[in-house]
């Protein structure tokens, strides 16, 4: 009653804000959807690559941003997904059928890494996940079924409704749809009982436990879901590239994805997207200056982190 005026103001403001937001978002979706009509293959390739990193960043965002857990070996999940699809297709399985299997394998990998380690404090967790990432890569390098150091080549391109996906535009739209799905899944989980449980644990683990939340199980869910994102991305990555090798999943890959999440702002979906866009676009835009661009890139990252440690995307809560 007392602050009914303030409340009313806030409601109208939210509606207004929501309207402009919906308008802006639909405009963005339309532009991105129509983009392939007006640009060359190179831009399409860069955009597809961006979409791919957005999916990975959103997946890692669940682990780091939502649940507040460190993961320095996220590329491992993406590797498990890519290899699962690559190997199963070699044995003649249809691509679309390999996706659920890739996801299941990734979830299992998430449990294997998370189960014993989630009782650890964050700094130890960082080291264990780092090790896990390297173990996965080295295992892929030494197994016969993964093709050793040269990896898997000649992975078949998938067909959908009789249409074979092989042009860059096909993959552009495939990854675009995946990005939209990833955003919807992220949003819905975030605004659910599980999403809140992650926030409670991130804010105060003891208090969360006193409220009847099982911290280990809840964190494990974050790993499993994050891993599933990586698995889907990996499966599509395998058929887009038609070749995968262990070096694709090196530590730098994990570091890049981590960078996208931290740069954009942990726990924020637009932040993760922005981070991924920046990460892919920056080196492309400055391609002419050759090796210097990575130096410039590094300097810029340091500057951003110094002046905006909470990430590029602004904090919303008042």
């Amino acid at each position: 009653m007392v602050n009914s005026v303030g409340f009313k103001d806030r409601v109208t403001e939210t509606i207004k804000g929501k309207k402009t937001r919906v308008l802006f978002l639909s405009l963005l979706v339309i532009i991105v959807a129509l983009l392939p009509l007006g640009v060359n293959n190179y831009i399409e390739e860069v955009m597809t690559n961006t979409f791919f990193y957005i999916i990975l960043a959103l997946g890692l965002n669940i682990v780091i941003g939502y649940a507040g857990l460190v993961d320095l070996g996220y590329a491992a999940f993406f590797a498990v997904g890519a290899y699962t699809t690559g190997i199963l297709m070699r044995y003649g399985l249809n691509f679309w059928l390999t996706i659920p299997i890739a996801v299941i394998f990734c979830v299992i990998a998430g449990i294997i890494i998370g189960g014993p380690t989630l009782r650890l404090r964050s700094d130890y967790l960082a080291i264990v996940t780092l090790g896990f990432g390297e173990i996965t890569r080295i295992t892929a390098r030494n197994l016969k079924v993964t093709g050793g150091a040269s990896g898997l080549v000649g992975i078949q391109r998938p067909t959908i409704f009789g249409h074979k996906l092989y042009q860059i535009t096909d993959f552009y739209y495939t990854f675009f749809i995946l990005v939209i799905l990833a955003i919807i899944v992220s949003l819905r989980i975030y605004h659910s009982r599980l999403g809140r449980a992650w926030q409670y644990i991130r804010e105060d683990e003891d208090a969360a436990e006193a409220m009847g939340i099982d911290p280990v199980k809840t964190k494990l869910y974050a790993y499993m879901i994050g891993a599933a994102f990586g698995g889907v991305a990996g499966a599509f990555f395998a058929v887009k590239m038609t070749a995968i090798s262990p070096e694709t999943f090196a530590f730098t890959q994990s570091a890049m994805i981590l960078l996208a999440v931290i740069l954009g702002g942990m726990g924020k979906i637009p932040g993760a997207i922005l981070g991924a866009v920046f990460l892919v676009f920056f080196p492309e835009i400055f391609r002419e200056i050759g090796q210097m661009r990575m130096l410039l890139f590094g300097i810029l990252l340091v500057i951003i982190m110094v002046f905006r440690p909470q990430g590029l995307w602004p904090e919303r809560k008042s």
Binding site: M1, V2, N3, V185, R188, I189, H191, S192, R193, L194, G195, R196, A197, Q199, Y200, E203, D204, D206, A207, A208, E209, A210, M211, G212, I213, D214, P215, Y221, I225, K317, S318
Partner: protein, 256 residues
């Protein structure tokens, strides 16, 4: 049958015995206080009951079932809620979201339910919100539900803690120094609230408190401990006149 039975509870930290052979019972729907001078082991005992410390020896029965050395979240699920002495709110979340945490163990929606927005999940979300609002209304801060917890006044933050504990649908609620930092009016409201928790909600209350006035006013039974041991037990009149209690308090700390 008592709702809570503490049997010869002992807690040692290395060579230090924080809780020594402590035994007491709580009747269903009663208000019991655990008091003692500073450093007497009240909070240690409290943490054993709620699972945050693992007791060394003894047993704790809640509704006839042993909860000794159980994990805190399991104890909460069984129907025992707690608050914290120094506020432990989820500071960057709204008041309502804070209270919604209490409903976690009473609900079950999983990943699929959330991703597909199943009807059962939406129903559950609605119920979580409704119960949380009821709890906020009960402690009298429903109008502040959309504020961030960190922006509330201290007294209101305390209320969020109580609402959050109530949202777990406890049969027994353990309040760890709920009056700490409250002003005179707020303390009166607290007395009223504790009585309402008992009468209106039928919840048993265990209180750990420094404020003697408050303890004497609301408690049906008082357990006094010193050096981790029980030195007296009884009604406020009995405890007040017990020479051992007087001895423990006088000369050790100033009465307020």
């Amino acid at each position: 049958m008592p709702i809570l039975e503490v049997k010869k509870l002992t807690l040692r930290f290395g060579g230090l015995t924080a809780v020594n052979n402590l035994s007491f019972d709580m009747d269903e729907n009663s208000i019991v206080s655990l008091i003692g001078p500073n450093g007497a082991g009240k909070t240690s005992a409290f943490n054993c009951l709620t699972g945050f410390y693992k007791g060394s020896e003894g047993d704790i029965l809640f509704q006839g079932q042993s909860i000794f050395r159980q994990k805190p979240y399991k104890i909460t699920k069984l129907g025992m809620a707690r608050t914290f002495q120094n506020l432990r709110l989820f500071k960057d979340m709204t008041v309502l979201e804070n209270v919604m945490s209490g409903m976690h163990s009473r609900t079950s929606a999983g990943v699929l339910g959330a991703v597909l927005r199943l009807p059962s999940q939406r129903q559950e979300e609605k119920k979580i919100r409704q119960v949380s609002e009821e709890c906020l209304d009960f402690v009298g801060i429903l109008d502040k539900q959309d504020r961030l917890a960190r922006n509330l006044a201290y007294g209101d933050q305390r209320r969020v803690e109580w609402a959050r504990a109530l949202a777990t649908h406890p049969k027994l609620i353990l309040l760890d120094e709920p009056a700490a930092g409250l002003n005179h009016d707020e303390k009166d409201q607290l007395v009223d609230l504790i009585r309402r928790i008992q009468k209106d909600l039928g919840i048993t209350v265990l209180l750990i408190e420094h404020d003697m006035g408050l303890v004497m006013k609301v408690s049906e039974k008082i357990v006094v401990i010193d050096y981790g041991q029980k030195i007296a037990e009884g009604s406020s009149e009995e405890v007040k006149n017990n020479p051992k209690v007087i001895e423990a308090y006088l000369g050790k700390e100033d009465e307020e």
